[in-house]
Amino acid sequence: MSLSSFRRCSLAALAVAASSVLPAVAHAEVDFSGKTIEWVIPFSETGGSAKWANFFAPLLSEAMPGNPTVVVKFMPGAGSTKGANWFQKQKHKDGTLLFGSSGSTQFPYLLDDPRVRYEYKDWIQIMATGTGGVAYLNAEDGAKFDGTANNLKDTDFIYGSQGATRLDLVPLLAWKMLGMKVEPVFGIKGRGDGRLMFERGEATIDYQTSSAYLKGSMPLVEEGKAVPMMAFGSVDKDGNIVRDPTFPDMPSFKEVCEATDGCETSGDAWEAWKAFFIAGFSAQKIAHMPGDTPQDVVDTYVDAFNQIAARDDFVKISSNALGKYPLNTGKLAQAEMASAVSVPASAKEFVKNWLQEDYGVSLK
């Protein structure tokens, strides 16, 4: 799938697409009455992916022909590689198996983690949702921020991090490219802990995904305790990083990078950042089916998710669970996934070297 076919649709466009496509494929629908769809999540009951799947499960049940029961099953272990390895071995039976991957499943795949025995290209993508992220500074250092990182290069920042190979890779690499000295304090259990560390004044820089930023960090900005630095951005239909639609007034990382001395928006570092950003944020959560699933079953699922996205109340009910990012289905989801897992070899090497040199992380 080439990048040119990679499109981001607004919800309205999707709604139109869904309504025009529906009657055309209605004859191909597979009846699911009396069946139970198992949606396997390779994380524990308590994570963000659980929340994501639990949000969609009742909607999916409503939208599928025959209103099957949809249950979310959890298969945590080995940083989600256990569940993904399991899914790799599954064959099509009766079309009742759905698998939900996340950025934490994409990253080990991109970094050639030895535990990875799965191949994204073998799977069929049904649906994908994304998110954005916002980086912010404490009030004191925030005063030195002028749209560039030029005045921030002499400050030692502290950042509460879950680990260099997690989603934190994206902000850490961004700050590194901007020439900032950010020392990660590893071992926190979630971004909420990171924000708490920031609130206590122990960390001086932080990032949150969009919905968490709006809920937890915006109040800090309003109180004058935090200063937003940049939103990572969003990917447009040509694969460029543009401003995040949720934060139209905030510069994207690309803008800040261009304005900062020594930060390049081309070359290995940039390619690597962009690839990991797409894999970790803009195509963060993807629902897959086994590779040998017949097309009519796939179409039925894609239609169901199109119907969900076209609901009148979808924007309202999804804002808490997903944020204001579109839900992509079928071909669009497949294109997103393709761009998320195709990283140039040189960019991959760059990230591996950087992880090894700065954090002593070697995956072998």
Binding site: G163, R200, A321
Partner: protein, 676 residues
């Protein structure tokens, strides 16, 4: 002051929301479901809440909250049944309860222990709610005052409880705690991702061992095996002497202890990041230290039940503070709770900083629904305790196979790997030998529970303080030694000094005979060998990832040193010295009618068969064989009990939407559920 004036109307409207027949009905429904789930060891609130999630979508917020809170609130109450009656710690909240609750059941005082526990739970829940009503308004700055050095000190304070629980030989207690910490470091390190005593070829080990498995292995398996060998009922007395009223009276005469432990529960529960795992041990330690006659601890002292049980329900209330005010879940069930709230109604209740401003009435409803659920749950539990306590008079050989069934299922649910069962066997063996040679099992468990917090907080506090020190010496000192830290240091030192003085009086394993050198020496050498290998393994981690190696290196070397001193002492001491304590030489285990290994082999049979034909088929063979051969039951009885057991297992798994461990057979043949 502004916050307080808005609080009263919010409180009033919260009560208006709660006191509706429909809301109360949902609360009771939630409580009953919670009790049913909570009796199952190792599943707890997470399984129950996941079950409710599909119904939360668009539900009226107050009704949904009533249902969920009813369920979450009673889990720490109902898991007391398993802790007291069977010696199985139902969840991390009830591990300390096992220490004195189970001996009371053995003494024929199960009903008394249960009702004392329930009365304490109720009181703890109410104190927690009352405290929270005021505290939640001012909690934010206080919670923010607890930085990493403060959390590290609380963790160390929890660890200092080892001094109280170390047993007759403080060195053995220290080594046991050290071994617990080392077992806790197995797997991928949090900070740099280096592997400790694990390899990517065995992915199971990279995640580390789960608390459920270690809790079951350390406490449940040794007790089940020991009782099974003796072939008697749990209660030594045929009649259950003290009834449930005695238990309530026990609680009433220890009301101040209950009050103090409740406060400990709320306060520790409030601090995000620690969770509830240390609370019950701190409460237990506190109960021991404030009791004049310590000789009965570990043998059935009712204060040892009242303390932890008062704290663990209060803790649930405290845990609401980080959950509601910061949107940071204090526990797994709270994480699901937050997710579920987003599904309620039109999804506009946002957990987090805005909760107090926009939804103070909902916040208060949650606090008081929790208290009400405690009341309902306690009444149901106390009413049931007399009847359920009769389980302790049944010949244990009839109970044991079902307990093996339950703990295997519980262990499997923690990670859904077959390896979970193997880990349970392995940790169970460690538990059996710790018990046999009088190495403090509570010390081991405290070490394990606190292993991750100790490592994490010390690394993080070190990292941040070194950056502060780089700025200036004063800033670093100010960060590390805040007033809270200094107070905690003083409390910890006092607790350790008192603990060491008192520890000798507390014999968690009861009276022990001592004998020949060989068996205790072999065990010591095995422990030392493991520690040595673990230390060498840690030393091979590259220095750039100092965070991943420093704790296993320091703790491992320290424990190894304890073992070396023990070794020297053992070589010098004459045979029969108390250092050679061995349960096989006198007391219950020595008089047992069956040997250790033949009894363990039955459990091994269940696990081994599961590996081949899957859990349910293995269970059929195991139950029938066990009841026929070991229990000598008639065919009718055997078949009836087996069918009941398997039906119960399937019903529970089906209702909770859980799978069973598959075996080799399942990888070749496609079998229908529940055989999958």
């Amino acid at each position: 002051m502004d916050t307080f004036t808005s609080a009263l109307p919010a409180l009033a409207s919260a009560w208006e929301l709660i006191l509706q027949p429909l809301v109360l009905g949902y609360l009771v429904l939630g409580v009953l479901m919670g009790l049913a789930v909570g009796v199952f060891p190792g599943l707890g609130g997470i399984a129950g809440l996941s079950l409710l999630l599909p119904f939360m979508f668009g539900m009226d917020p107050v009704l949904g909250l009533a249902l969920m809170i009813g369920m979450v609130a009673v889990v720490p109450t109902s898991d007391t049944f398993a802790s007291v009656l069977m010696g199985i710690p139902g969840s991390s909240a009830s591990q300390a309860t096992v220490l004195d609750g189970f001996p009371m059941a053995k003494n024929g005082e199960a009903a008394r222990a249960l009702s004392a526990a329930f009365a304490s739970s109720l009181f703890g829940g109410l104190v927690g709610a009352a405290f929270l009503t005021v505290f939640i308004l001012v909690a934010r700055p206080i919670v923010l005052a607890f930085g990493l050095p403060e959390m590290l000190m609380i963790t160390l304070f929890g660890l200092s409880m080892v001094a109280v629980l170390a047993g007759r030989m403080p060195l053995k207690g220290l080594a046991a705690a050290g071994l617990g910490i080392m077992i806790g470091t197995i797997g991928e390190a949090d900070a740099g991702g280096n592997l400790r005593m694990a390899t990517y070829d065995i992915p199971y080990l990279t995640d580390g061992l789960k608390l459920v498995i270690v809790g079951l292995g350390i406490f449940a398996i040794p007790e089940i095996v020991s009782l099974l060998r003796q072939d008697r009922s749990i209660s030594r007395e045929a009649s259950l002497g003290a009834g449930w009223m005695t238990g309530v009276k026990d609680w009433a005469s220890n009301i101040f202890l209950s009050m103090r432990c409740s406060i400990i529960g709320v306060v520790v529960g409030v601090i995000p990041g620690l969770g509830g795992s240390v609370v019950d041990w701190i409460a237990y330690g506190h109960s021991v230290q404030t009791t004049r006659d310590k000789s009965k601890f570990g043998k059935g002292e009712v204060r040892g039940v009242i303390g932890p049980e008062s704290s663990n329900n209060a803790k649930e209330g405290g845990g609401l503070v980080p959950t509601l005010l910061f949107g940071i879940p204090g526990s797994g069930s709270m994480a699901i709770f937050i997710g579920a709230i987003a599904l309620l109604g039109s999804g506009d209740i946002e957990v987090g900083p805005s909760m107090l401003k926009n939804n103070l009435d909902i916040t208060y409803s949650i606090v008081w629904l929790l208290a009400l659920a405690n009341v309902v749950g306690t009444i149901v539990c106390i009413a049931a305790s007399g009847g359920i306590a009769k389980l302790t008079t049944i010949r244990f050989t009839y109970l044991a196979p079902f307990l093996f069934m339950l703990i295997s299922f519980a262990a499997f649910q923690s990670g859904q790997n077959f390896e979970d069962l193997l880990a349970l066997c392995g940790i169970g063996l460690i538990g059996i030998f710790l018990r046999r040679f009088d190495w403090s099992r509570p010390a081991f468990l405290i070490g394990f529970v606190l292993s991750n917090p100790v490592e994490k907080f010390s690394n993080q506090a070190f990292q941040i303080s070194s950056i502060r020190f780089r700025k200036s010496f004063g800033e670093g000192m100010e960060y590390l030694f805040s007033p809270i830290v200094i107070v905690l240091i003083i409390i910890t030192v006092i607790s350790v000094v008192l603990g060491i003085r008192q520890a000798k009086a507390i014999m968690a394993e009861g009276e022990m005979k001592s004998g020949s050198k060989r068996a205790p020496l072999v065990f010591l050498l095995l422990v030392s060998a493991y520690l040595l290998v673990a230390v060498i393994d840690a030393s091979r981690i590259p220095n750039i990832n100092m965070t991943d190696k420093i704790v296993p290196l320091v703790v491992g070397s320290f424990s190894l040193l304890c073992c070396l001193i023990l070794l020297v002492k053992m070589i010098r001491a004459p045979e029969g010295d108390s250092i050679f304590a061995d349960k096989e030489l006198g007391g219950e285990d020595a008089d047992a009618s069956h040997s250790l290994w033949s009894t363990l082999a039955w459990f091994g049979l269940l696990v081994g068969l599961t590996a081949v034909v899957g859990f349910i088929l293995a269970l059929v063979v195991f139950l029938v064989a066990f009841l026929r051969v070991r229990a000598d039951a008639s065919w009718n009885k055997t078949l009836l009990l087996s069918v009941c057991g398997i039906a119960f297992m399937c019903l529970m798994a089906w209702a909770l939407n859980r799978d069973f461990p598959p075996g080799l057979l399942q990888s070749y043949a496609d079998l229908p559920w529940p055989l999958t």
